[in-house]
Symmetry: C2
Subunit: 94 residues, 2 copies
Amino acid sequence: MIKVIARSVIKENHLTDALSLYKLLVAETVKEQGCISYELFQELDDPNNLTLVEEWDDMDALKRHTQTSHFVTLVEKLAAYEKELPVLIYKKLF
Amino acid sequence: MIKVIARSVIKENHLTDALSLYKLLVAETVKEQGCISYELFQELDDPNNLTLVEEWDDMDALKRHTQTSHFVTLVEKLAAYEKELPVLIYKKLF
């Protein structure tokens, strides 16, 4: 299993637009083979700070995810509304 | 439910020391009332980058956690081995 933590900062006045795209992204992604979980979180101190917390069977499943049409299309649209921070990929220790 | 993501960067040559403390911290914390999950992850690109991903029933449970003797003692010891990044607290959107 691998864990992915992907943070983004939504630009002022675009939270509603971004959330509607994220909602589609989550709905499509959880159907993917190899996706264990894929959840969107919002920071309590700043609602424009969002974080995807993802679990995938392995790196192959994650790579396939980034090649799906829903990922490519929605992430391209999201780029207009957000600044993405580096995507961090982890293994579980304990 | 609230989600907590707490990153830290372990100082050079102190990973083994830090991991033994984190192992104790995880083992004690998962026994706490109000703790849904508490897991330690290691970044694939840099093993000295660690991240705790936590789920708590509510803010009261998280606050009680930070007042437990295992948290206070182990976090104080960990401070010698790591640089903590800001702890981020989230709610789940979808």
